[in-house]
Subunit: 298 residues, 2 copies
């Protein structure tokens, strides 16, 4: 890569910026950010790269463009860059769901321009360039979407890029991607939001001050439920078919748990609790979480 | 306190043992533990206190007895200690639900013997004496149950004890306790178990290997879903009425979320996501969790 343009410089955009600069992956890095508050943070933090006011400067001078905005902003940005984007430029994004955005890309992006989607599996409950870190992608999975229009050359370019960033690359179709992450990421977030919402409703109805007793479990969910609302609204809307199915499976299982509890079905409940326990050690073995009890918090 | 008997020396029992010894809260500490594997761990760890083989020795010589076993073992133990317990001895326990155990105590404990229940809000997904720590109760809430039979003198004794341990003491009725913790602790655990179970079902049906992509959210739930199955079965069974109501509220809210997602109700969903976010900062302000993003994992 010679030059890279990052569009949207929040938590992940700024983390990419830091990493690309640190590892000297590009000759020049352009940053396009529409939020004035984020721009002033970036300046204050003295982050590398050149903030550009006109998209055109970045687009015509870059070999790789990375969309790091909420997914609901892709369409408008595509319509803008269509006016000056060159066929040699490769576009990617880091959005968390893929089927819907691939439809937007297909429908609106100028013909002959290549966009191969990426999804680095990382993030945090905090947002904004001040929370970005250069090691946030290190040893994390990065999914590259391989659909029927993906060229081998672009796949290779992008794989090389993410490997330089420090990610472990794996390719899959957008359909498979959206199904897998509806369960491992989208449903957990929705459930966390829903649990905190239920606690708030309960607190209001009962007039109990209960948040102060959240150390018994609720606090873990509150972290995930503090995630960026625009990003998560976009994910929920974009992957609604898979998420709906995941909700149905979840409610079916929860009703079975309720039945087991109310009938004191010892055998059935112990079987479930013992089986779910095994996932934790699998996750730790796969290095998807730290192995310290309680996330090493105490 | 002169002498204390700890019945059940797993994670919390052994943490109490370590703390009582470190802070010199008792002259002598007796430990009664039925699991041979735990006894051999306790010996290997050279934990303080005297392991007793006969319950009688500990019971007749102690001013305070603390039940740290799963709640399903209380009944059998009560029937045993009834034979030699003296009226001067105060009994407490650390069980996570209170209404059902108070019924067992009332029904089976010899008349004239005082049992005032406690619930320190602490714990971990790991079990056993090897995971105990002397600071696990420090600055954590400890609920003492005040019902119509609770004497002021026992309340004072127990408050003094838990304050020496390092906990912040609060008193409430067993009814209020079980309602609050059905939401802040029991439902979150059930939901975590249920989410992991749903992921396992999905993995089986789809034949996808998806646990390796759990860093996007699922991993947090897997920690809670790795908690001790006997302890949690007991809690679910003992607090089934409140938990059933909590499940109903949760499912009602989840179906509303589903409706919002499927109808792309932007206003309604953003309102919820923004509101739930506020709980996190409240929890951090109340010092119920650490303030580092991602629990400081990275």
């Amino acid at each position: 890569m010679k030059n890279i343009l990052i569009i949207g410089c929040g938590l992940l955009g700024s983390s990419l910026l830091r990493r690309i600069s640190k590892k000297k992956i590009a000759k020049r890095i352009f940053v396009y950010e529409k939020s004035k508050s984020n721009i002033s943070k970036i300046n204050k933090l003295k982050l590398p790269g050149k903030i550009i006011k006109s998209l055109k400067t970045g687009v015509v001078n870059s070999d790789l463009i990375i969309f790091c905005t909420p997914m609901s902003e892709y369409r408008e940005l595509i319509l803008k860059i269509n006016n000056f984007i060159l066929p040699k430029t490769l576009i990617t994004d880091i959005g968390s769901s893929k089927i819907e955005t691939s439809k937007v890309i297909k429908k609106f992006l100028k013909k002959g321009i290549h966009w191969t989607q990426s999804h680095p599996i990382t993030g945090s409950e905090v947002s904004g360039p001040e929370h970005g870190k250069d090691n946030i992608f290190e040893n994390k999975w990065c999914i590259i979407i391989k659909d029927k229009n993906t060229t081998k050359s672009n796949l290779n370019k992008l794989t090389k890029f993410w490997k330089k960033i420090g990610s472990n690359v794996v390719t899959m179709s957008s359909e498979k991607h959206d199904r897998i992450f509806s369960i491992t990421s989208h449903l957990p977030h929705l459930i966390a939001y829903n649990l905190v919402k239920s606690a708030q409703d309960f607190e209001k109805n009962q007039k109990y001050n209960l948040i102060k007793y959240s150390a018994g479990g609720l606090r873990d969910f509150s972290r995930i439920a503090a995630s960026n609302e625009i990003m998560w609204r976009d994910i929920f809307f974009n992957n609604k078919n898979n998420i709906s199915k995941a909700i149905d499976l979840f409610i079916k299982n929860l009703n079975e748990f309720k039945k087991d509890i109310n009938s004191r079905n010892n055998k059935s409940i112990l079987k479930k609790l013992i089986k779910t326990k095994k996932v934790r050690s699998k996750i730790i073995k796969l290095k998807q979480d730290i192995d310290k009890p309680d996330f090493g918090r105490n």
